[in-house]
Assembly symmetry: C2
Homo-oligomer: 303 residues x 2
């Protein structure tokens, strides 16, 4: 049993009102796999350049992350530079260098083609479709993340891949843009008509809203006093959420709710430090404690 994840590995330059970091390991696949592997074994497919060395490789060591699908190309890793304002809600992108990522053609290693769970991270929907075609037995479920760039520029390809997707993850503003509906319940009906029966709307500091045929679930984010860097929060959430779902082998609403807590808790760790600093060092006890704290917070008892 494994969760196959395809996405990007990058070096990021980050600046927030609380500090700055240069050339830290990032990218959607990095945050996703560090988070998901806390719950379920992950098989990673991504491309890196010559600058991805032992210092980066060690971040994945000793975790349930299979790097067999890591393709090494001459050149440099994807590089992103962003700055956040005081409200930490949205990054302003200062630089994007695709580097080796520009010609990424994901090749799924043979042993990975039977993976029961598949996460198509935020890459060109044409490539997401290519990955789907390489799968052997159809996965039990396919989850997909995307962004406004593809919604605006590759809508046809995006809809084509969404026909075969079960779980769609999107930011709230992207959900509204993609569906043309402000109201999330109306937006969900449009998504359902295209394919995905489970819509996960990521609302940043306001948490997430899950829409499913069985009903709706919304949960706030775990409240934190110190948020230093929101980079990777959405990918960390996706990792915890999908890793948990894979671990229980269910997608009914009780499982989805628990998975949303797992994802939210993992994301709350990520934003407490820069890059993957905190995510790399979560102990079992940290995780158990915060899961319990979060459950207690949102639980309403009879009086």
């Amino acid at each position: 049993m494994s969760l196959l994840a395809v996405g990007s590995i990058a070096f990021d330059d980050l600046e927030t009102p609380f500090g700055r970091r240069e050339k830290v390991l990032g990218g959607s696949a990095t945050y996703f796999s560090l988070s998901a592997s806390r719950f379920h074994p992950v098989r990673l497919v991504a491309v890196v350049g010559d600058d991805f060395g032992p210092d980066q490789q060690v971040v994945f060591a000793g975790r349930a992350v299979d790097l067999q699908g890591l393709e090494r190309k001459p050149g440099k890793c994807f590089h992103w530079k962003g700055v956040y304002g005081y409200d930490l809600n949205e990054a302003q992108t200062l630089e994007t260098h695709l580097n080796v990522f520009a010609h990424f053609q994901p090749v799924i290693p043979d042993p990975f083609r039977q993976s029961p769970y598949l996460f198509l991270g935020n890459i060109d929907p044409v490539l997401q479709l290519e990955v789907l075609k390489q799968m052997g037995t159809p996965p039990r479920w396919v989850a997909l993340d995307t962004m406004n760039y593809w919604i605006r520029g590759s809508r046809g390809a995006l809809e084509a891949v969404l026909h075969r997707v079960d779980i769609l993850l999107m930011n709230e503003s992207e959900t509204r843009e993609f569906t043309g509906e402000h109201n999330l319940i109306k937006a969900y009906r449009r998504v359902q008509a295209i394919g995905p029966q489970i819509l996960v709307v990521k609302r940043g500091e306001y948490g997430v809203c899950l829409l499913t045929p069985e009903g709706i679930f919304a949960t706030p984010a775990f409240p934190l006093e110190d948020v230093y860097d929101p980079t990777g929060a959405g990918d960390t959430f996706a990792g915890g959420f999908l890793g948990f779902l894979a671990s229980v082998g269910r997608t009914d609403i009780p499982a989805l709710k628990k998975a949303a807590l797992a994802g939210s808790v993992m994301a709350s760790f990520t934003v407490e430090r820069f890059g993957t600093e905190r995510l790399e060092n979560i102990t079992e006890q940290d995780l158990r404690r915060r899961m319990k704290g979060f459950s207690d917070m949102i639980r309403v008892d009879e009086l």
Copy 2:
């Protein structure tokens, strides 16, 4: 046992993308008392003009709302005209006519001065302080709502009244403006230092966040497919929240959590129609069903 509420009664002209209404009954005290009286008897103190007639009075008839403190003055009621954009998040005020409200000097009728629970609605903090001085035995708790207008223009008076307030309700942006802190936990510490030990941050479609000495509780809003008019949602929330708290006579965290659900559910009815249309016609069964639906939605069970 009663909850004394001081606030405004108004006529509103409302326009949203889904329709318009003219001269509908509104004002913070109207929404508050219609909502709170579902849970606990309310004593209302407000001022109205000659245009408040039997058609308006009947809205309060047959409810646990004591109108002994309704002062009638020559002239017209407070009048507000506002328009909402497609996202329904914030109204643009087109007209405000204070009319009889301009010289409102709340006088608490003698039998009301022993009320155990007091809600100071969003009026001039100088008047809120006057009301407090008229109380006989100090109330068990005092709750206060305010807005950016008073935060900016009457900060001294506002802080003076807050010294004697237990529960502060504010919109999220107002909380940040008032405290100078973006982070709600940091904002809460500032509020605590001034007086109120319970801070209720209203986040519109994202629900509420309660901060207390015992811990934090955040809950999303009840998800609705059709939202027609958000006018009065915050006051309706305050009514359900404080009416429920008064009804149980407790302010510990389990009571506060349940109260937040009650307030959220009441607010969800208000926004489904224009003005008080829906709020006036909630049956016991409507209320019970939606309370259960909301509890079920936010509940996370063990797998």
